[in-house]
Symmetry: C2
């Protein structure tokens, strides 16, 4: 596995690698969710690129950029083990040199849900993903369903801007107790960690109710809210049921719509979602 920082070297290596090229962009501190994306890319592509870059422009001024967890050596070992060909580790100075001024924005969808709570977040995501795509020039790129709105925005951006890249969205990987894998789970203290699975439990309760023919979105949302409200730990930011193609809220749930949750547990924001599927 080649570990490269320089953009020019990545471009040069890219030319010599067999296609199709699969790409898994990450912010590092890799967990089983990232590694599942890498595994998919390895199965479906002749070459696998990954990147590790904690992108500063997708963090708000009050957010956790400085303390975002990092462990590059452990990440390298995990990627090597999964058969990755190239890992690119750009730095802030090469990605955002002084005078940096160009931004990509998927405007409407970036204002709701995560975008409402984290203004500028998706502009930072769309911009850095564009830059990563331009350097790596992948044929396929892999993202996790756990960040559903991000995945949707990247698909929309790729379609709107005519990128010639297939976007693959892979299912959320969970801990044994249902908590969605996230690099930020490391922020949870033991008490918070013990109640964190309630997000998934609450969504599963809503799903069961949906499968018993409850389609009223408000009542399904209330099921999740009640389950989180049984402990004093959660501050709910939103619980929403949205159309999977527009991310617009729906009042009546249907097969394939998305149930999205964002809540704070102490200082830690957690987001999760499931697809409401008819059994």
């Amino acid at each position: 596995m080649q570990k490269i920082s320089s953009i020019d070297e990545i471009r040069s290596i890219r030319k010599s690698l067999p296609e199709p090229v699969g790409f898994v962009p990450t912010m590092g501190y890799l967990h089983a969710g990232h590694l599942m994306l890498v595994k998919k890319a390895r199965q479906e592509c002749a070459s696998v690129f990954t990147s590790i870059f904690v992108n500063p422009t997708q963090f708000g001024p009050q957010e956790d950029l400085a303390k975002y967890p990092r462990d590059l050596e452990r990440d390298f070992a995990a990627l090597e083990h999964k058969g990755v060909d190239v890992v690119w580790t750009p730095d802030n100075a090469m990605m955002y040199p002084e005078g940096y001024d160009t931004w990509v924005n998927v405007e409407s969808i970036s204002r709701s849900l995560e975008g409402e709570i984290r203004p500028g977040h998706f502009r930072g995501v769309a911009t850095v993903v564009t830059k990563l795509f331009h350097v790596v020039q992948p044929d396929k790129a892999y993202f996790g369903q756990k960040d559903a709105q991000q995945a949707w925005i990247i698909k929309k951006m790729v379609k709107d801007l005519n990128f010639n890249i297939e976007i693959h969205i892979e299912p959320t990987v969970r801990e044994a107790d249902g908590l969605a894998m996230s690099s930020r789970n490391v922020y949870l203290n033991s008490e918070e960690r013990s109640v964190a699975p309630r997000i998934y439990e609450g969504m599963q309760r809503a799903l069961r109710s949906f499968n018993h023919d409850e389609v009223n979105a408000d009542r399904l949302i209330q099921i999740v809210a009640n389950h989180l409200g049984e402990t004093p730990f959660f501050t709910v930011q939103y619980i929403r049921i949205v159309h999977p193609e527009s991310f617009e809220p729906v009042s009546t749930a249907f097969d394939g719509c998305l149930l999205l949750v964002a809540a704070k547990l102490g200082d830690t924001r957690l987001i999760d979602n499931i697809i409401l599927t008819k059994k």
Copy 2:
């Protein structure tokens, strides 16, 4: 020469053509300035792509989108004569399908000069050029110095977003009397056309003064303003001397800085510029 509308066909042809691929994006109604760009591309590249697309998103609501001049058959003949390999003619529906939502913006520079007079103009330019680049995937792309700020913005966008494309800026082509070639010159009536060369004359006067050691930007600007003011036809929008790397106004002219003029002649906006060069 292949005349193609479909994006998929362009992608497919692109794969089979020898590299480097040169690209000249245009809005059609081609003049000698466009054809000079094509000639350069032909000299420097193994394959030459052009596009003809009157991009609606770079026109303001009160601007001349509907009456922008078009003559596709004449354009095809001229491009064929110059040895172009492929001309791509996308339409609005394929470039901006319903629900289109993604925009590229070089933020700071897009607010001044042309951007101040034409809000949203450069956002439309940066977005459409990104889309064209993603489909054609050129190695080199050619733009005219006449639209100096546009050329600068595209260079900045390419650098910021890590496009792997060389941007070539070619000198302005002029009529015998000095008027810069522009598709919009066709809007001028005969009286307006006869005074239009005053823009270039005024700039040349300023250049002569600069070469006689006048470096005060205000006084150089006044020379141009006086020359335009000698007739009642011009409404000056701006006359500015700017740094060629930042487009920031300078108070003292120096070798290589830009003198920019925008003025209306009747209903027609004309822009032009020269580089102030020490003889």
